[in-house]
């Protein structure tokens, strides 16, 4: 599928709109509450966010497929384009840049110019959050969950975040393997 066509699907897919501040504040409250509940154990907060995202992704993928009407991607490059130009476009109205491909084409980075989840956010100044908390970690989980449902096992993590004072917000996504059959072997 051509890159242009992919962009067009992202533009044209109709989705219900919701006030961006509501999303931002809701998500921010969740993260802040998690930080409080786990006594600022940010590793654990990252893990919980990823887990929440995973559960969201497993459900969201059906919405994505039903509304966008796209078919199976032929390769991981196409998948990356689909994630950036259709997935992020229809759910967060941003289009991260796909870049930094590894030589085996199984690893890429998403660079977020704009991250609606992190608007207004300033990380706690306890000296650790800046180094340990990945505020938008839920997105990693969403990708992991949704791609697993379409037979791709991936690993995703943030490598930089403007909230921490980095230049860019970058997520690294690597394909672990294609899950060969959607059925577990013992079911056959």
């Amino acid at each position: 599928m051509s890159a242009n066509k992919t962009s067009r699907i992202g533009e044209e897919t109709r989705v219900d709109k919701v006030n961006a501040e509501l999303v931002t504040l809701t998500y921010g409250t969740i993260v802040a509450q998690l930080c409080q509940d786990y006594d600022s154990d940010y590793q654990e907060v990252n893990k919980q966010l990823d887990k929440m995202g995973y559960n969201i992704g497993m459900r969201l993928i059906e919405d994505f497929l039903a509304k966008s009407g796209v078919g199976r991607c032929a390769n991981f490059k196409e998948t990356a384009d689909m994630i950036a130009k259709v997935g992020f476009k229809i759910f967060l109205n941003v289009t991260p840049t796909v870049t930094n491909w590894a030589s085996d084409n199984n690893q890429f980075s998403l660079i977020f110019e704009d991250n609606p989840l992190a608007d207004f956010v300033e990380l706690p100044d306890d000296g650790r959050a800046q180094d340990e908390l990945w505020f938008s970690n839920i997105l990693c989980g969403v990708l992991r969950g949704s791609l697993e449902m379409v037979q791709m096992q991936i690993e995703a993590h943030f490598v930089s975040d403007v909230l921490r004072g980095d230049e860019t917000t970058e997520m690294r996504v690597s394909l672990v393997r294609y899950i060969e059959d959607e059925m577990p072997p013992e079911e056959e």
């Binding site: 501040e21 931002t24 504040l25 998500y27 921010g28 409250t29 993260v31 802040a32 930080c35 608007d119 207004f120 956010v121 300033e122 990380l123 706690p124 100044d125 959050a129």
Partner: protein, 185 residues
């Protein structure tokens, strides 16, 4: 002109303080209060003492920006106020530089006025923001400043890690207030 800006929560807890000087008319943005030894606590004292007047003034009209509400003649301090709908108070103390031909308000200062003798020798035109605290131009400039601070205050308050009524420690907010001061005052 030197400025001292304070944000007070609806329950009178100070949330934020900053002192800065004018950047207009060649100013370097550094606060030079007339009585540097006592300015640090006197400014707070003067600002807080205007709260009673502010609480009267806030019912006179529905505006958020209440303009110049109070003057403390001994220090030539002028107070402008801005109210947010949620009840936070933005108070700006402005103090014109000490002038040789100072207004009579300084008459009660006695010997302490000597401390301010390093005051500027240049005199800006009376209508400029830097010199005349009650001119319409100044009021307009302060209004712009307050609005910009308000906008940034809202953004800061939206941060999920900021709790209402907590001191604003955000360095970003401080930078933005400084920038607003530079831009308008």
């Amino acid at each position: 002109m030197s400025y001292y800006f304070t944000i007070l929560s609806p329950t009178d807890t100070p949330l934020f303080n900053i002192a800065f000087g004018t950047s207009k008319g060649g100013g370097d943005g550094i606060a030079r209060f007339r009585f540097p030894e006592t300015a640090q606590y006197m400014n707070q004292f003067i600002i807080h003492s205007s709260l009673d007047i502010l609480e009267e003034a806030q019912w006179t009209n529905g505006a958020m920006y209440l303009k110049h509400i109070d003057t403390y003649p001994p220090a030539a301090a002028y107070i402008s106020a801005f109210l947010t709908p949620s009840g936070a108070r933005f108070l700006l103390l402005h103090q014109p530089p000490h002038l040789p031909s100072s207004t009579s308000t300084g008459s009660g200062l006695g010997s302490s006025s000597l401390l301010g003798s390093a005051g500027s020798t240049t005199r800006a035109s009376s209508s400029s923001v830097a010199a005349n605290p009650t001119s319409p131009q100044t009021e307009e400039a302060v209004r712009q400043f307050m609005n910009e601070v308000y906008e940034n205050y809202v953004k800061t308050a939206m941060s999920p890690f900021y709790k209402q009524g907590m001191e604003i420690k955000s360095p970003v907010f401080r930078t933005r207030v400084t920038a607003a001061g530079k831009k308008w005052l």
